[in-house]
């Protein structure tokens, strides 16, 4: 298959994927017993009010009508009203909170790539020395510690005990509030990246062309940078989608604990208040983000590794 045909086919595959994510989420949300009005305040809502509420939000229509109506609205960028925060639409909520999450997520991804790749490269270059062992050990600890544990430990030590950093909140990326959530979000993906880079780098180091490069008298530094790191990063790119997914799901916990007004926190709140449109909206947003990221990775790979397109 030639490259162009592959790219077109791969891009078109996004549509059924997103549709499936929408359908699964929609069906599960509406099949879940209990209504969005069941935990609003202490008193039970009178039946007549309930009827009016359902009518005004279109919840009394047949399910398939709701399915297509909402799908049509979403395609026009309208995610509907939020059930629990009446004055806001879901589009409002997302457009307010997404920039916050995006900045935090981007910081975390940059941090994860820098730390992960560095640890991996060092581990491979110092293969089977104590430096390698420390790097690998750090990586496996990172994989074994969930983000909410990391956040709470960092808050406990750096904020509550030593008062070096704030205990929570959000004040843009140029303030000290971003340090703890960034580290907590980045720890797991950087550990994954470190393990990937290390094994990929070790493989490259044993290649014939590396030996050739050394044999013809190239400087060790340029062998490492030009021949090894560049080639070993190729397979590492495939984990980019996974890294993003880790950062997204980590944000549910990190944003909730560190009280950051991002999408992850809204998602967690909307789950407990059964705010269907917010749940659907955020799931679609995250699903689309990760699907597109995977698409970019796959297409990028076509250009970076000529062996694949043959």
């Amino acid at each position: 298959m030639n490259r162009r045909a592959y790219i077109i086919r791969r891009t078109l595959l996004i549509v059924p994927t997103l549709l499936a994510i929408y359908t699964i989420t929609f069906v599960l949300m509406h099949a879940t017993p209990g209504s969005p009005w069941s935990n609003q305040g202490d008193k039970p809502i009178p039946p007549i009010v309930l009827e009016r509420l359902n009518e005004s939000y279109g919840l009394d229509d047949p399910l398939w009508v709701q399915y297509f109506r909402y799908l049509g609205n979403v395609l026009q960028g309208d995610f509907g009203p939020s059930y629990s925060q009446r004055s806001l639409t879901v589009t409002d909520i997302i457009s307010q909170s997404f920039p916050v999450s995006a900045r935090l997520g981007l910081m975390a991804m940059v941090f994860a790539v820098v730390v992960g790749v560095t640890l991996g490269v060092i581990g491979a270059l110092k293969h089977n020395t104590w430096i390698d062992y420390i790097a690998s050990f750090t990586a496996i600890i990172g994989i074994s510690t969930p983000s909410y544990v990391v956040v709470s430990l960092l808050v406990l030590v750096l904020a509550s005990r030593y008062h070096v950093l704030p205990t929570g909140g959000w004040d843009g990326i140029w303030s000290t509030t971003i340090i703890i959530p960034t580290i907590a979000l980045a720890l797991f993906p950087s550990a994954v990246l470190a393990r990937y880079t290390r094994s990929s780098m070790l493989e490259v180091l044993s290649m014939d062309y590396v030996r050739t490069a050394r044999a013809k008298g190239l400087h060790e530094r340029s062998v490492i940078i030009r021949h090894c790191i560049q080639n070993s990063l190729l397979p590492v790119i495939t984990v980019a989608g996974v890294t993003l997914a880790n950062v997204v799901t980590g944000s549910f916990f990190v944003e909730s604990i560190y009280s950051i007004p991002g999408v992850g926190r809204h998602f967690v709140q909307s789950i407990s208040s059964r705010d269907y449109p917010v749940i659907l909206g955020t799931v679609l947003l995250f699903g689309a983000l990760i699907t597109i990221m995977n698409l970019i990775v796959d297409i990028l790979y076509q250009f970076l590794d000529p062996r694949i397109s043959s």
Binding site: I141, Y148, S152, A245, R274, I279
Partner: protein, 323 residues
């Protein structure tokens, strides 16, 4: 592409050519290599000890996990309560021990669910190919596109709702078991439903490459049915990668369980899930840090041990993968 078992077999021949050797099975070879891995073995010892503590939790724990003592609220660790008490005066050590039951049983039972769904799906897809393969693998691809935790959260919301409102039939039986086990049944189903994808992919790849091998052809030529070929020949040659995937799946399931319990969608109070204990500790973080340290330490250590063991088993089955 040669399979793990073939590579292992050829390696043992070249090493032990001098003395007449007994037939070394894949298993005994792998076990030998595993035994030399100190980290993996000490992790195994840790896990076995934890398992024993979990099984005998009612005998070894000083208090019950739900017993509230209002005279001893938020006590720091002392002689009566070695790890202190929580905001309801419950003994943290006892809750930790009962929490080990939850984490370990989730880790193991979810793997059973995964094997029950993923292995048949993968074998059938790889063996028959064609439309069945396309259907199963498209489904797997689509589910893969969704971040698993996002998916777990949605499924758990759904399952909790269904189980809480069940009135009759099979679902009601499940719901009764669920409420008796403090929401654990929902966790098993929910995590099992989303985690079978990796196993299905591995098994499919194996069964696709195995189905054209000579030994499968030989089996077919002496009259083995499709079913016999799949269970006798393909499945038995796929065991090693399945075991590796399952061992590495245990820590993942444990992390997911504590994550959803942390969000209030998993195990219900007063059941002492480590994730739930961590979430209860966070509002009290500043003044009562020991409430966080005990469950967080237990969770990380357990996951760490399973990861070391899983890595060890992977290296033992496939020494070529070890770099």
């Amino acid at each position: 592409m040669s399979t793990a078992s073939e590579r292992v077999a050829s390696s043992s021949e070249s090493v032990e050519f001098a003395k007449p050797k007994e037939a070394n099975s894949l298993w005994s070879d792998a076990f030998k290599r595993l035994r030399r891995n100190k980290l993996a073995i000490s992790s195994l010892v840790f896990i076995v000890l934890l398992g024993l503590l979990a099984i005998f939790a009612p005998l070894v724990s000083p208090y019950s996990y739900s017993e509230q003592n209002y005279d001893a609220i938020r006590q720091s660790p002392n002689w009566e309560h070695p790890l202190g008490t929580d905001q309801l005066g419950r003994d943290i050590l006892s809750r930790l021990l009962f929490g080990a039951r939850i984490s370990l049983s989730v880790g193991i039972i979810v793997q059973v669910v995964i094997v029950l769904i993923g292995v048949p799906a993968g074998i059938v897809a790889g063996y028959y190919g064609g439309k069945i393969d396309t259907f199963i693998m498209r489904l797997v691809d689509i589910l893969y596109a969704m971040p698993s935790l996002l998916f777990v959260i949605i499924i758990m919301t759904f399952l909790q709702g269904v189980l809480d409102n069940a009135e009759s039939g099979f679902v009601y039986t499940l719901a009764t078991a669920n409420s008796r086990l403090g929401g654990l049944v929902g966790v098993f189903i929910g995590l099992g439903l989303i985690s079978w994808l990796t196993v299905a992919r591995i098994v499919r790849a194996q069964s696709m490459s195995l189905k054209n091998k000579e030994f499968v052809e030989a089996a077919r030529s002496i009259g083995a049915t499709n079913r016999q070929v799949m269970t006798r020949h393909i499945l038995s040659n796929t065991m090693a990668p399945i075991i590796v995937a399952v061992t590495l799946g245990i820590p993942l399931a444990i992390i997911y369980e504590s994550g959803i319990s942390f969000l209030g969608l998993g195990v219900r109070p007063p059941m002492p899930s480590w994730g739930l204990m961590i979430s209860e500790a966070i509002p009290n973080l500043r003044s009562y840090p020991y409430m966080l340290l005990a469950p967080a330490g237990a969770l990380s250590l357990t996951v760490l041990a399973f990861n070391f063991l899983g890595d060890g088993i992977r290296d033992a089955f496939d020494p070529w993968m070890k770099k």
